[in-house]
């Protein structure tokens, strides 16, 4: 919302603050100054102050609304623009209201023998401040009144439209040509103003060429209406039309303000265009909105602000803001002024008082001493933090990528049994699918680093992957790691993964040929990672190049941690006894299962370490594994005994 400093002065004549001071006062009290320009208006130096008006203050999308704020801040009176005593005719306008559920109020009147013409220079110049082109006197006055009062109006050429005008939900018309000549396809669910032939306007948004005011218009119908804001917002969104009118009417404008705004518009038309009001005032206002009264404890502002604001100060501020007050013992009965459709609760009054008292009068340098509270941080937060630290210590770099990915990427990178989740309305067409694997982002990052000639590409990311099972949307915290090397390096990645897991406290890690493999993986170098019975994720080599990828589900990792031993510390009183055993298995036999079985036989209390020292491929689909066991707290003889028994070796 822009406002001329001279116009604020006109409405608050006793204002002495400078234009910039006014802008700063408005900023602190809720209307942030986001522009300030020195201009020339009406042959005088003036200032145009731009303000951000938030969605709750429909009343401040007007000069009067802003002037009221300024006056309240400085404790001044507001002098409103004059409305003449108007004489109405006897003619009754033929208006039908066929959409009563979405119309709060309509005022309409006809004027005959009006002289439409070019606007006076001041009006043209005024509208130019608001980046509005001058059309003709009548249209320009309608726009002027909208800016000053906040209430949009719509003017029709009475001679060009049928006798009966109706407001209804569109069922008959497939298109409208608007005032600016744009042809808009209609959905046949819009609120429209029509006659027996055509659409005259999209109510609350924009008029049609049909029935529009032109320079030769002499008999006109002026309407000013307030609608249920929801239908204006819906129509505006579905037709992608935002106008000065719709941006005001999709907020909560007070229907009671129509009387003044309509009177002001008619006064100006009569003053500048002459004519005679031919009809009675059509006034559709079935549910008159009464002023709200709130029982208010004047101590509340002090409690909320944390500083003492006296009862006297509270009353003074509320009165400056036009609230009517009746003191009732300790309490106040506060009546909300017209236009303030944002005030419902005592807390709303607290805000009114405190914002005018001044946030800048509340101390900021006192660190609060708040009640001690229980730590409810979930464990997985600490787990994720630790994973990041370990991987960066292992010289991996963290990257963050887009959780939304290009079509087709999930198809080659996903390996989980879940459906794809898409967004319906992304303005970025090439990123509409939610990733199902962290590989989507890491591989994109890898490609970028390669383009830029980076030599070391060891990267990781922790984020969500998404999917759908039946009607349920799923999301998992997931770690993805990518390693690139000029040489074969799947084992480097395996060691990194194992170091991470062992650092976290997980020791019994094993790998199985992956059951479900992503299309991007080399199917002969792709394994599921297991800890006990828990599938943590996957490790694989990509089909092309020496690019290696691992993905771990953080929730499953946390489960694995719950079952992990908590204390690797031991007392070593005897020398460690290390013995090897050669084991030959068929290629389809699991070495992990074999080791698991041997561990059980040896007994975990006897093992210091158990590793596969060597693997050798034999003929006839057999593999020879050399398993090295280090025994603790056993004599040589006892260790040998257990070793031979456990591996079934002959002495």
């Amino acid at each position: 919302m822009k406002i001329l400093y001279s116009q604020i002065k006109e409405l608050a004549p006793k204002l002495t603050a400078s234009p910039r001071e006014v802008g700063e006062a408005l900023t602190l009290t809720g209307l942030m100054m986001d522009g300030f320009a020195e201009i020339e208006y009406n042959n005088k130096k003036d200032y145009l102050i731009s303000l951000e008006v938030r969605q709750n203050r429909a009343d401040c999308l007007s000069v009067i609304g802003v002037a009221r704020e300024v006056a309240a801040f400085y404790g001044l009176a507001v002098k409103y623009p004059q409305v003449d005593d108007l004489n109405f005719g006897k003619e009754a306008l033929a208006i039908k209201v066929n959409a009563p559920d979405v119309i709060k109020r309509i005022n309409a009147v006809s004027i005959d023998a009006v002289e439409n013409k070019e606007s006076p220079a001041w009006l043209k110049q005024y509208l130019a401040c608001y980046e509005m082109n001058s059309i003709n006197l009548l249209v320009d006055l309608s726009n002027f009144v909208m800016i000053v009062t906040g209430y949009p109006s719509h003017l029709m050429d009475k001679d060009k439209i049928g006798e009966v005008i109706s407001w209804e939900i569109n069922k008959d018309f497939g298109e409208i040509i608007t005032l600016d000549g744009t042809n808009i396809k209609l959905n046949k669910d819009e609120l429209i103003i029509r006659d027996n032939k055509s659409v005259i306007a999209l109510a609350g948004m924009i008029g049609a060429q049909y029935g529009s005011i032109e320079m030769n218009s002499q008999s006109i119908v002026v309407e000013m209406a307030i609608y249920d804001r929801v239908i204006i917002r819906k129509n505006s969104r579905s037709l992608r039309i935002t106008t000065e009118a719709s941006s005001r009417l999709e907020k909560d404008l007070d229907p009671n303000g129509v009387d003044y705004a309509m009177g002001f518009l008619l006064s100006l038309i009569r003053k500048y265009g002459g004519g005679k009001i031919a009809s009675q005032m059509f006034n559709y206002y079935p549910k008159k909105i009464a002023s709200k009264t709130i029982l208010f404890n004047p101590k509340m502002p002090s409690i909320y602000a944390g500083v003492e604001i006296s009862r006297k100060e509270v009353i003074k501020i509320l009165k400056n803001l036009r609230f009517a007050i009746i003191e009732d013992k300790e309490m106040l009965k506060v009546t909300v002024p017209s236009g303030r459709t944002d005030i419902f609760l005592a807390q709303d009054l607290v805000e009114e008082v405190v914002r005018l008292y001044g946030y800048n009068n509340i101390p900021v340098d006192v660190l609060p001493v708040l009640t001690m509270t229980e730590d409810i941080t979930p464990k997985h937060f600490y787990l994720i933090e630790k994973i990041k630290d370990i991987l960066s210590a292992l010289s991996y770099d963290e990257v963050l990528s887009w959780p939304l990915t290009k079509k087709g990427y999930n198809a080659v990178m996903n390996y989980k049994e879940m459906g794809e989740v898409s967004v319906q309305n992304s303005v970025n067409e090439d990123s509409s699918e939610l990733r199902q694997s962290m590989a989507t982002g890491l591989l994109a990052q890898f490609a970028e680093y390669q383009k830029k000639n980076l030599e070391y590409i060891n990267i990781f990311e922790i984020g969500k992957v998404f999917g759908k099972l039946g009607k349920n949307y799923l999301e998992y915290d997931t770690l993805g790691i990518l390693l690139y090397d000029v040489d074969k390096a799947i084992d480097k990645l395996r060691i990194a993964v194992e170091t991470l897991l062992r650092e976290l406290g997980i020791s019994e890690i094993c790998y199985k040929n992956a059951i479900s493999k992503p299309a991007i993986a080399n199917p002969y170098s792709c394994w599921d990672i297991f800890v006990a019975q828990e599938n943590l994720g996957i490790i694989y080599k990509a089909r092309q190049g020496n690019v290696y990828f691992a993905e771990l589900n953080i929730a499953n990792l946390a489960k694995g941690l719950n079952n992990a031993p908590t204390n690797p510390t031991i007392e070593i009183t005897q020398k460690i006894v290390t013995l090897d055993a050669n084991v030959v298995l068929a290629t389809n036999e699991s070495i992990d299962d074999y080791i698991k079985n041997v561990r059980k036989k040896i007994g975990k209390n006897n093992i210091f370490s158990l590793i596969i020292k060597d693997v050798y491929k034999l003929a006839n689909d057999k593999i020879r594994y050399t398993i090295r066991v280090s025994y603790k707290e056993l004599s040589d003889q006892k260790a040998k005994e257990i070793h031979f028994d456990s591996f079934g070796l002959t002495k």
Binding site: M32, Q55, A305, Y359, V364, T371, T373, P378, F381, A444
Partner: protein, 342 residues
């Protein structure tokens, strides 16, 4: 045999020429062996008259002691020299390969910095779902369907109108309020999504940092003190902050915390669009409707909440000029340097 101190001088010269321990052994034999020069002289003392003994005998005794001392000294020196030779043979040189270090993303570093400030004050850290339902992203935050406040955020829908990607971490606030019993103090960092075209200064994915406190007694003064403390911890004690009234449907009264522009020190520049201030997010006293929708007695409990945008802070701190860099291929790290986080 008459003996004088010249023998010591001679021995010293000969010892100087000894390099190997075998040579030392030969020399030892020459002077102190069974038939060695000094040993023989020592044996002759017995046959000397008392007068000779007191003069010549005493001298021989002194020469004998000094000879032994010189040999011991030389032996020690030789041993030392041989050790050095061995160690030299086993010596290694330092290489030139530099250790590559891993890095945490600037967003992570910033979130950690903020988390530390708040965890030191007893706050917990929470996260919530990114695929969200309308109820938790809007309705429970006092934004009913078709409320004009919805225009503040262009939503990415998965299944309009109910299933969406969260537009704000206030959705985590709604979950926390619905799940935990007050009192609590929580911060929630996380990704949020808006349906915006991606360019140099806008992204459809960015990061929020939400704070929620629910107690029997809190005030704007507590909120201001908390935010002031946070900004000073991050930007230093000279940072200037202002608090202004700003509407957000989930709070009442609402607050807009602004920081004086670090680029122009409040004079007005392109970064702060001439205002001298940078908007840092939104805050306020939690709206009573928000508490009651979560089943919290709004007559007993009061709360404050704040939501800060992280990405622009991070860009300013790390001199990143294009917001796309934060989530894209242009972010790199120097292999051999890391950030000083102390």
């Amino acid at each position: 045999m008459a003996m004088d101190n010249k023998i010591i001088e001679r021995l010293k010269n000969e010892l100087n020429g000894v390099v190997f321990s075998d040579d030392l052994k030969s020399l030892w034999k020459k002077y102190l062996g069974k038939e060695g020069e000094v040993k023989m002289a020592l044996k002759e003392i017995v046959q000397m008259s008392p007068a000779e003994k007191s003069v010549q005998g005493t001298l021989i005794q002194e020469i004998y002691k000094e000879t032994i001392a010189l040999f011991e000294e030389k032996e020690k020196a030789l041993q030392q020299g041989e050790n050095d030779k061995n160690l030299k043979g086993q010596a290694e040189s330092l290489g030139y390969e530099i250790a590559k270090v891993g890095h945490l993303h600037p967003i992570t570093q910033t979130i950690r910095m903020l988390n530390k400030v708040f965890m030191d004050m007893g706050y917990s850290v929470m996260d919530g779902p990114e695929i969200e339902v309308d109820e938790f992203c809007f309705q429970r935050l006092n934004v009913p369907a078709d409320h004009p406040a919805r225009d503040m955020q262009d939503t990415l829908y998965i299944q309009e109108p109910d299933i969406l990607l969260r537009t704000q971490t206030s959705s985590v606030e709604a979950h926390v309020l619905a799940t935990y019993k007050p009192p609590f103090k929580v911060v929630c960092p996380g990704k949020v999504y808006r349906n915006e075209k991606v360019n140099k200064s806008n992204h459809f994915i960015f990061h929020h940092y939400q704070g929620i406190v629910v107690m029997e007694k809190v005030s704007l003064k507590d909120l201001f003190g908390t935010i002031n403390h946070l900004f000073k911890k991050i930007y230093g004690s000279d940072v200037k902050i202002r608090f202004r009234n700003k509407y957000y449907p989930e709070v009442e009264p609402g607050v807009g915390p602004d920081m004086q522009c670090f680029n122009c020190q409040g004079k007005g520049c392109a970064l702060c669009k001439g205002s001298g201030w940078i908007e840092m997010g939104g805050a306020g006293i939690i709206h009573p409707n928000v508490l009651s929708m979560a089943g919290i007695d709004n007559k007993k409990w009061l709360g404050f909440a704040f939501g800060l945008g992280l990405d622009r802070w991070v860009m300013a701190k790390y001199n990143i000029t294009d917001i796309r860099t934060l989530l894209g291929g242009n972010l790199g790290y120097k292999y051999y340097e890391n950030e000083n986080t102390l």
